[in-house]
Amino acid sequence: MIHQYQLNGYNIVLDVNSGGVHVVDDITYEMIQMLTPPLRGACPKDVADRLSEKYTKQEIAEAYHDVYTLYENDILFSDDEYEQFSDMMVSSPVKAMCLHVAHDCNLRCSYCFASTGDFGEGRKLLDAETGKKAIDFLLVQSKDRRNLELDFFGGEPLMNFGVVKEIVAYARSKEKEYHKNFRFTITTNGMLLNDPVIDYINQEMSNVVLSIDGRKEVNDRVRVRCDGSGSYDSIVPKYQRLVEKRGQDQYYVRGTFTKYNLDFAKDVMHLHELGFDQVSVEPVVSDPKLPYALTEADLPRIFEEYETLARQLIEKRKKGEGFNFFHFMLDLDQGPCAIKRLRGCGCGNEYVAVTPDGDIYPCHQFVGMEEWKMGSVLDNTFDLKKKSYFAKANIYGKEGCKDCWAKFYCSGGCNANNLQYAGDVLRPHKLSCELEKKRLECAIMMKAAMADES
């Protein structure tokens, strides 16, 4: 399977099954469009005839020689040999948990998927005993996996900071006995950060996600306190202090863009200007009827904005001032293995969410949907039938994914978004698909542009 496209002056050919990325000239681009595998040693006559209207015989022969060399090296028109791994798409140990330490929040962001923090279940905090039971669950269910991830999530987790510390201490006390390595992360809105909290996070958390949407007017339109006032002025200096003290790149400032800021490249650049070099700004996913929702009508504008952002990032990188934009990060040589790409996000299989009541859900986005509850860490119930269902929610199980060129990059999309906005876990949310494909095209083009420099 081939995906070819032109962007920012580059002719790009992606060989889907091998992951080979090729930048080609015009004759080769046109030739590849006309070819159908299997290829033979000489250019097919009908292809050569069509190209001869624009190109010489020698040019056609040379271009075909290059194409055929890649074909023989199995990095162009390469076969799909992944079906043999389909038996690896089975129930796996649980190795990652989103622990909801607070179903409460000190902000009232209008787009919050958690119903301003309580997930529609009432405001409550996780108690330490339930938190420790969640750790016990993870220690047992992770079986032979050594690296365990625990994300302190909310609501706003710092509203329950004492319990966070208790749980971290408890988990650390079990690492040796169970031969595990805990990696903690925390996702915060920043309001309650102060020096002692910052120092604790920087010491214990392998990653920290700091929520902010970008420019002051953009952030403060949506990310507001209970009294309606904006959060920007309070959080920016705290984030700057945390990142300065952290002194490494394992963090993200993370924003959401909506219909209100389709010029979100400006927000990405603004966050960089504030001194942050690990930036993620992501599309809101919501009911299309809501005023801030992104819809298919917005796609051309969003695509244009992603292209603008990509060009600006290229310029920055060429000047040695580059920074990471999460959705354009792509390592063409050392990314995740094909098995991980086939499996997808792992929601409900390798990854679960646990609520303040100890209830287990497939992921944080499913919390509050009673029919998707998988069990409880309090009585050690765990619905293995649901787990097996999610294990099969990979690109071979989802509508259209098997034949999509982006399958090894997005891996089937977000199961929760699929369910909420496309009606079924196994039916990809088309708007998200389109955005993902555009981001990938931009990310690959950026690689081409940077290779041009070297």
Binding site: G20, A96, D151, F326, L330, Y409
Partner: protein, 47 residues
């Protein structure tokens, strides 16, 4: 090659043979939490 510049050396197919150890980061734990992206994760063995 005169007509083609290939940007990467790795072949995804080869990564499948020894892949699937499951020790790498779950994608939603990195930053996204709403928009699944898997390809921008790192292989645990490439760190």
């Amino acid at each position: 090659m005169k007509h083609i510049k290939t940007l990467n050396k790795a072949n995804l197919k080869k990564s499948a043979a020894k892949g699937g150890c499951g020790e790498c980061q779950a994608s939603c734990q990195s930053a996204c939490k709403t928009s699944c992206t898997v390809a921008n994760q790192k292989c645990e063995h490439a760190k």
